[in-house]
Symmetry: D2
C-alpha cells in the first residue's frame, strides 16, 4: 500500500527540479527520530535538523541529509515539525519564512496550543503556503512501528497533498476539521484520558483499601459501565495486566510530565473559550503535585501510587 501511495506522491515531486529534498524534518526527539526513519525507509528524501548532534548523526546513517540550521532548509518542499512547545514551533515558522522558504506545505506534528496552531496556519496561508496540524497518538511504540494516529486540522487539499508522507509514519489519518482542530482533538482526547486514568486509579485504590481484589474489580469494571482504555488496556494497578507500565514500576510509558504538559495546554485552551473543565483542572493539579514529588518521569498511571501515598520523593 505504501508503494502505491508513494507512487502518487512522486509524480508532483518529479516535476519539481527545485526541491533537492522533498521533506525537511525538524525535531528528532523520541518520537521524531522514528517518524523520520520511517519516511526514509519508504524512500522519501529527508533533510533533518535537531539541536542534538547525536540524533542528527543517527538519522544521517539511515540516509538523511543533515541541515546545520533551520535556515538552510529553505529548499524543502514540505516541512515537518515535531517540537516540544508552541514557542518552538512559532520560532521555527518565523525563521523559515524570514529565510525565504520556497516550499509549499507545513505539517506540524507537535502538540501545541490549538489557538497558536490556528494562528500559524493563517500566517502561512497569507504567504501562500498550506499547513496542517497533525499531532499524533500512539506513543514511542507507535512512532517506531509506523502505526501512529494523526489527528489532522486544515484544508482537505493540503492534507491530500501530503497524505502519503503521513501514511509512511502512521496507520490512521483522521481529518478533524479546519486549521487547529487536530490540536483540539488531541488535547480533548488526552484531557479525557487523564481524567479516566485518575478515576480508574481512585476506584481501584478505594476497592483495594476496602478489601476488594484489584483483579476482580478490574474484571467487573472492564465488562461494565466503567469500562475504559485506562482500565482494560493500560491498567494502573500492578499485576492486573501484562505488558503495561504498571507491571514495570511505571517505566516506559507516557510520562506524567508529558501528561502535565498536555493538561496545561488543554485547560489553557478551554480557559480561553471559557469552557469549564473542573475535573480536567483538578487532574492537572494532581499531576503538578506528582511532578513536585519527583514522579514526573513515571508513566501517568503512577497516579495510583500517588493516591496510595507512595510518592517518588527524593527530598524527604
Amino acid at each position: 500500500m505504501l508503494s502505491r501511495n508513494l507512487h502518487k506522491l512522486t509524480r508532483p515531486l518529479s516535476t519539481s527540479t527545485r526541491a533537492a529534498h522533498s521533506v525537511g524534518f525538524i525535531g528528532l526527539g523520541n518520537m521524531g527520530a522514528y517518524m523520520a526513519s520511517n519516511l526514509l525507509s519508504s524512500g522519501v528524501s529527508v533533510k533533518a535538523f535537531d539541536l542534538n548532534p547525536e540524533a542528527v548523526n543517527d538519522l544521517k546513517q539511515k540516509g538523511a541529509t543533515v541541515a546545520d540550521s533551520v535556515e538552510s532548509m529553505t529548499d524543502c518542499e514540505t516541512i515537518i515539525t515535531m517540537l516540544p512547545s508552541s514557542p518552538h514551533v512559532q520560532a521555527t515558522v518565523t525563521t523559515l519564512l524570514n529565510a525565504g522558504w520556497e516550499g509549499k506545505t507545513w505539517i506540524d506534528s507537535s502538540t501545541i496550543d490549538p489557538i497558536v496552531s490556528k494562528n500559524l496556519g493563517e500566517a502561512l496561508a497569507k504567504e501562500g503556503k498550506g499547513k496542517i496540524d497533525a499531532p499524533v497518538s500512539g506513543g514511542v511504540k507507535g512512532a517506531a512501528a509506523g502505526t501512529l494516529t494523526f489527528m489532522v486540522g486544515g484544508e482537505s487539499s493540503t492534507l491530500d497533498a501530503v497524505k502519503p508522507y503521513l501514511e509512511t509514519m502512521g496507520a490512521n489519518i483522521v481529518h478533524c476539521g479546519a486549521n487547529g482542530s487536530g490540536q483540539t482533538a488531541k488535547l480533548c482526547n488526552n484531557l479525557a484520558m487523564a481524567i479516566q486514568m485518575v478515576g480508574t486509579a481512585e476506584a481501584l485504590n478505594m476497592g483495594d483499601s476496602l478489601g476488594l481484589d484489584p483483579k476482580i474489580l478490574a474484571g467487573i469494571m472492564n465488562t461494565s459501565t466503567s469500562r475504559c482504555w485506562s482500565s482494560d488496556s493500560y491498567n494502573p494497578y500492578p499485576g492486573v495486566l501484562e505488558g503495561v507500565p504498571a507491571g514495570n514500576d511505571y517505566e516506559g510509558g507516557f510520562g506524567s510530565s508529558l501528561m502535565l504538559k498536555d493538561l496545561g495546554l488543554a485547560t489553557s485552551a478551554a480557559g480561553a473559550v471559557k469552557s469549564a473543565t473542573p475535573l480536567g483542572n483538578a487532574t492537572k493539579e494532581i499531576y503538578t503535585m506528582m511532578e513536585s514529588m519527583d514522579m514526573g518521569k513515571k508513566d501517568f498511571g503512577a497516579v495510583l501510587q500517588f493516591l496510595k501515598g507512595n510518592c517518588g520523593n527524593k527530598k524527604c
Copy 2:
C-alpha cells in the same frame, strides 16, 4: 438453562414443608418490581411487600402473595431486599429478626454502604443465617429483561444456595469476595463511571467550544485512548449516538440524583478507610450542584448541559 437451575433449587425447597413461600421480596420500586416479576415468571413462589399498595397489587396480579407487613414474612425461606438506603435495610433486618424470621438466606440487592452491609452480614451470621450483598447494574431495562449483573459479596456456599434465583433476574453473577465486597464493587464501578462521564462531557464541550464537531471528536475518542462506555455507548452529547438519554432530553436513563446517592456512598466508604478520591469528591459536588439546580431527575449525562450553563433551574 433456567429450568435446570430451578430443578437444582427445588430440591432443597421440596424438603421444606415449612416454607409456604420460597422468596420474600421487599421493595417493589422501579427495579424491584421487574425483578420480582422475573422470579414469578420462572415459577418461583414470591411473597411481596412494599409501602406502595399499587406496586403490591400489580405484583399480586402476576401471581405473588401479598404481605401486609415485614413481620408477616417470617415464613420466607429467602428474603430479597431492594431498598433505597442503608437505614431501610438495617431496619428491615432488625424487624424480621425480632419477629422470629425462620428462613436461611438474605439477599440484599440494594445499593448501600459497604461497611453497613458487612455489619449486617455479621449480625445475620450470628443468628445462623446466610447473607449475600448483591447490588445490581443494568438499570431498569436490565431489570425488565432479566439481564442484570449481580455483584455478590459473601460466602460461596450462600451464593450457591440462591444462585438459581439470581439467574432468573440477571445474566451475570460475579462473586466479588467476602461479605460487603459486592457493595464495594458496585460503588467503585459507579464512582469510576461518574468520573468518566464528567470527563467525557468536559472533553466534548471543550472541543465544541473550540469549533470541533462533537461527532468527529467522539469518533476519535472511541477509537483511541479516551475510549470509555460513557463515550462509546452512552454519549452525553445530543446527536452523537442513537437511543441514548442525550437524544431524549436526558429522560429515561440513570438519574443524576441516583448518581449523587451512589457518589455519596462511595466517597463516604472511601473516607472511612482514608482512601483519597479527589476526582470522585469533585464529581459528587458537581452532581450536588446539579441537584440544587433542579437537574436531579435528568440522566447523569446531563452534566454536559450543566457545563454549558444550561441548568434546569426553575428558580431563576
Copy 3:
C-alpha cells in the same frame, strides 16, 4: 467573676443531697484533662473517667474522684463528655441512660456529627434530661488557660443552668441556636478555616515560586483583601511569624489528622442536606493525601510543605 457564677451554681446544687459529685467528666485526652483541671481549680467537685489510667490518676492528684466505669457515674448531676467521635458519645449516652443516670444535664464538648448530636439531644429530652452541644475552639493552649470558646446548641434554660461550669473552662460562650447548632457552628468554622489555610498556602507558595518574598507577600495580604487568621495569626510559611507551628517544623499545633476528621464531619453533614462544598471536599482530599504521606501529626499548616512536594513520607 467566677466566684459569683459559682455562687449561683452552688445554690441549686446545695439543695441536692443526692449528688455526691456535681460533674462527671468523661474523656481526659489532651483537651479534656485541662478542662477537668480547670473545673477542679474553681472548686467544682468532679468525678472522672477515662480508659487511660494515667490520665485518670493525674486528675485524681488534682482532687477528682475516680470512676472505674461509665456506669458508676449515675450519681453525677451533670455529665461532660469530651470524646473522639460520634459513636463514642452515642455509646456513652446509651450506657448511662441504661444504667439509670439520675442527673439532669449533659454537656457534650466533643466535636461530632451535628445530626447525631441533634438526635442525642432529642433522646435525652424524652428522658426529661437537658442537653447542650458545646464543642470548643482554642486548642490545647486554650484548654490549659481556660480561655476556650464554647459554641453552644440547645435550650437557653439548659445553657443557663451550666454556664458557670463553662465559664471555668472558657472565656467565650456563644449560644448558636437550637440543639445541634453548636456542632454545626464548629464544623462551619473549621471548614472555612481549612479552606483559608490551603488558599493562603497556595498563594504564598505560588508567590515564592515566582520570586516574591513570603514576608513581603504576607505583609500585603494581611493588610488587604486576602487578610485572614491563617495568614495574619498562624502563617504557614516558616519565618513569617514568630511562635507559630510553621516555625517549629509544624509541631505542637492543630494536627492535620484532626483537621481531616473535622473536614470529614463537615462534608458529611453538608452532604446530608445536599449543600455543595466543592472547596471543602477538595480540601478534605488534600488532607487525606497528607495523611497517606505520613503528615497527619504535623500542624495543618504543613499543607504548604505538601504543596511544595516536601511530604513526610517514610515509605519512599
Copy 4:
C-alpha cells in the same frame, strides 16, 4: 502632604523643556478615569488616550489634553497604562517604542501576566527606560477616592521617581520587589481572596442549610479562626453586613468576570512555574461556571447564590 510631594516632583520636571505633558494616561475605563482625574486634581499635566471618545471627552473637561492616538504620546515623560489584558499592554509598549517615545518611565497599573510584565520591563530597560508594574487594589471606590493600594515591582530608583504620581492616586504604595513582582503580589492576593470568599460562602450556606442563622455564624467566624476579609468586611450572605454588594443583589462590587480574569492569570502564572494551586484552580472553574450561567456581572460574592442553585441563567 500631596503638595509636598508634588513640590518634589515639579523640580525635575521644570528642568525639562521637552515634556509638554508630564504624564500620558492610556486606558480610561472604570478605574483609569478616576485615577487620571486624581492626577489632574493634584495639578499634574495629563495627556490622555482611550478608544472610547466619551471617556476622553469627560477627562478633557477636567483639564486633560486629548491624544488621538498612542503614537501621538511620544512627548510624555511618563506613561501610565491601565488596560484590560497582557496583549493590550504589549501592543501599547511596542507602538510607543516604535513611534520613538522620548519619555523615561512607564507605570503599568493593569493587572496582567507577571511573566509578560517582567519581559516588558526587560525590553524597556534595553531602551534605557524605567518601568514599574503597579497593579492596584481598592476597586472603583478606591480609585475615585484616591485611596488605592499600589503593589509595585521594579527598581527602587524608578519607583522613587514617580512615587508622587502614585501618591495622588493611592494611599498605600508597597514595593514588592523586582520587576514583575507587583503583578505577582496582586495575583497571589486575589487568588487567596477568591478562595476565601468561596470558602466563606460554603460555610455560611452549609450552616444555613443545617438551620444555623447566618448572622450568628458570621459572628462566630469573625471572632474566631475562620475570620477573613470576605467574612468580616464583605460578607456574601445578604443581611449580615450593611453596605456590601450582598445587600444590593450583588451589584456594584468586584464582578465575577473580573475575578475569573484574575484567577486565569494567577493559575496560568502558577502553572508556568509548576506551583500547585488545587483550590485556586477549583475556584477558577466555579467562576467559569458562573460566567456560563450569566452571573459574570454580579459581584464575586454571588458565588453564595451559585452554591444555593440560584443562578442568574437566562437560558433556562
